[in-house]
């Protein structure tokens, strides 16, 4: 390997995030004064914005270390979403975390490392690197979930994430070792080439199941979702928002890169797995969300259901449907962040988490109620919001593929199933809206919105609206991103 030929600028965004994280750890140590801690959060935001600028300068990208690390349009797209999510999460954390823990500086540092890990996941194209980066992300998320260590629920959240995460890591590693045994290589680039000759290989099918289980844990698809409701409920709410959005984006990008990019030629091995995961996630996610009384648990099940809708795009496997996957991720992240930011503002002030506690929110804080309304309507798929367009493209992609190819007519069942459960989901989203707008408040005290959180909320809600009203540029972005693997 000749070191002079390595284009280090391709790693610029990651290096900037890493240096910012280290700087935060260092400054946190030097600054004794408690009141300085908020500055560290702003420093983190600054670093993320710089990194975002660096991604704009990547251009066409390239590959590093013999296809171990790939910077292509897909990974740049994913890194930009992740950095954006990171900025919003830190903005929302500034007031939430203040005084809630003794380790404020480390919180921002670890959050940056979690973002770094997910950025690495979106570029990793070699099985060992993928495994290490996935474990890096899981580890930082475990620590952040258990951050309020004096609250039993937060500890429980971290512990459940740890135990299920360990199991999924072991299964993933076993799958990786089988793929290596079969192909003799670990880079996806070479695996794709050497695997093409197989019509059907039982071991390959088994390892596809194992790998889908490992990645399915990250996106919280049924049946690998068992950690999600408890972790979402117990973790500090900004971290819940982070898990529900960033973790899902990274999980889907690695799913796309591995299955579509790496094993795209032998799709017969894994399409059935995706169909099963999609159907199970949509059904169980939506049905379990209905009886929930805790709003974070309800959104956890709803995020499981959304993973199901997105998986339809993978199961259909056409240019159109894969574009829709990325577009949906964008719309879903914006709407979900909007909903969680409202929860952060509300729970910080009232310390209440039940859906019934949101009674009369429209009178206590019209802005929060309106934001929640738009976010939930987008997730329910009501026009003209982002979620509607996302669902439309996913379902339309499936229908057009089913109609154009008579052998794959069965694909039409997936969008039908999706539409049925989207209608079911309207019921539980409107439960919250009903409480906010139609029920009289018990406590009429208005709820203040901290300025940074308000800013983040504004960005998330405007983005949800913009994606719905003017989807063109976002769709073009998703399409150019998917071209690098399909």
């Amino acid at each position: 390997m000749n070191w002079a030929f390595i284009d280090w600028t391709l790693l610029a965004p990651e290096i900037i995030v890493l240096i910012t994280a280290l700087l935060i750890f260092g400054l946190d140590l030097i600054w004794g004064d408690e009141s300085e801690r908020e500055t560290l959060g702003w420093l983190g935001i600054l670093g993320l914005i710089f990194a975002f600028y660096a991604t704009l300068a990547l251009g066409q990208g390239g590959e590093l270390f013999n296809h171990i690390y790939v910077v292509d349009s897909l990974s740049i797209f994913s890194k930009q979403i992740l950095l954006g999510i990171g900025v919003l999460i830190i903005l929302a954390s500034l007031d939430y975390i203040k005084g809630a823990t003794k380790y404020e500086g480390e919180y921002y540092g670890l959050l940056l490392l979690a973002i770094l890990a997910m950025m690495l996941i979106s570029s990793a194209a070699e099985l060992i690197t993928i495994f290490i980066c996935l474990e890096f992300a899981t580890l930082t998320c475990i620590i952040l979930s258990a951050y309020f260590k004096h609250e039993p629920k937060s500890t429980e959240a971290g512990l459940k994430y740890l135990l299920v995460g360990l199991l999924s890591a072991v299964v993933l590693l076993y799958g990786i070792s089988l793929v290596y045994g079969l192909t003799g290589t670990t880079t996806l680039y070479q695996i794709g080439g050497s695997i093409r000759k197989y019509a059907f290989q039982p071991v390959l099918f088994i390892s596809c199941i194992f790998l889908a289980a490992g990645f399915g844990f990250k996106i919280a698809a049924v049946p690998f979702h068992t950690w999600a409701p408890d972790t979402y409920e117990g973790a500090p709410t900004p971290i819940t928002a982070f898990l529900a959005t960033a973790s899902k984006v990274a999980g889907f990008v690695i799913l796309l890169r591995f299955f579509v990019g790496g094993l795209g030629d032998i799709e017969g091995h894994w399409i059935g797995i995706m169909v099963t995961l999609a159907v199970l996630s949509m059904s169980i996610g939506n049905l379990s969300a209905i009886p929930q009384t805790d709003i974070k648990r309800m959104l956890a099940y709803s995020s499981i259901a959304h993973a199901g809708y997105i998986l339809i795009g993978l199961a259909v496997l056409s240019r159109e449907s894969l574009t829709a996957v990325l577009f949906y991720l964008l719309a879903y992240a914006a709407a979900n962040l909007g909903a969680f930011l409202v929860i952060i503002a509300f729970s910080k002030w009232t310390d209440l988490h039940n859906i019934s506690d949101y009674a009369g929110l429209s009178k206590r804080s019209p802005l929060l109620a309106l934001s929640m309304l738009l976010a939930l309507m987008s997730m329910a798929g009501i026009p003209p919001l982002g979620g509607f367009i996302g669902k439309f493209y996913i379902f339309a992609g499936a229908v057009s593929e089913a109609v154009s190819d008579p052998e794959r007519l069965w694909l039409i069942g997936l969008p039908v199933w999706g539409v049925i459960f989207s209608i079911v989901s309207v019921y539980y989203y409107f439960g919250v809206i009903k409480a906010m707008y139609l029920v009289e408040p018990v406590d009429t005290q208005p709820i203040p919105i901290p300025v940074p959180l308000g800013l983040a909320l504004l960005i998330a809600i405007l983005l949800t609206l913009l994606i719905g009203i003017y989807p063109g540029p976002f769709l073009a972005l998703s399409e150019s991103a998917i071209q690098s693997i399909f």
Binding site: M1, L18, F25, L64, F65, N66, I68, Y69, Y103, E106, G109, L110, L113, L116, L120, E126, I128, T129, I132, C133, E135, F136, L139, T140, I142, I143, A146, Y147, K149, G158, G181, L182, G184, Q201, P202, V203, F205, I206
Partner: protein, 165 residues
């Protein structure tokens, strides 16, 4: 199906010991006994590595797992209040479901692995593994190697944050 040759006999002996000790780890009632069987299991793993001509991995396995992790487990058990001599049940009422799942999983693996036409490499690997591993870690696999250092940093800081009062 089972051929007994100079290579396979040690494998079968090790395999039987490994399975029995792994079962002992998850079924014994005394934590200390479980940990000791875990150490035995790790030794068997090191034996497999030697059979596969990966002596360096075998040594690392013994240093890290037997020497490091098992001893850490023992310290933890001894320092935790009143756990060392307690008798704990390791299973709950779902053990039967778990057992059935494990059998199914094993059946899936065995049939899958035996139905596959594995390509057997002609080359049996390098004479000395240590220089090759070292070179690979610092050239081809430099990237994951460096990422691991950041992972360790995150783990260290996280452990301090979680464990300190």
């Amino acid at each position: 199906m089972i051929e007994l040759t100079a290579q396979t006999i040690p494998f079968y002996i090790l395999a039987v010991i490994a399975v029995i000790s792994a079962l002992a780890v998850v079924s014994l009632k005394n934590l200390v006994h479980s940990v000791l069987f875990l150490a035995l299991f790790f030794f068997c793993m090191a034996g497999f590595y030697i059979l596969l001509k990966a002596e360096f991995l075998a040594a690392v396995q013994i240093f890290v797992y037997v020497g490091g992790i098992t001893v850490l487990f023992l310290f933890l058990i001894m320092l935790t209040f009143k756990v060392a001599d307690k008798r704990l049940r390791q299973t709950n009422e779902q053990w039967l479901i778990a057992f059935v799942m494990v059998i199914l999983f094993g059946w899936l693996l065995v049939t899958g692995l035996s139905e596959t036409n594995w390509e057997i490499a002609e080359w049996s690997g390098p004479e000395k593994t240590i220089p090759v591993i070292g070179k690979l870690l610092l050239t081809t696999y430099i990237f994951p190697f460096e990422v691991v250092s950041v992972v360790l940093l995150a783990a260290l800081i996280g452990a301090i944050v979680i464990a300190r009062k």
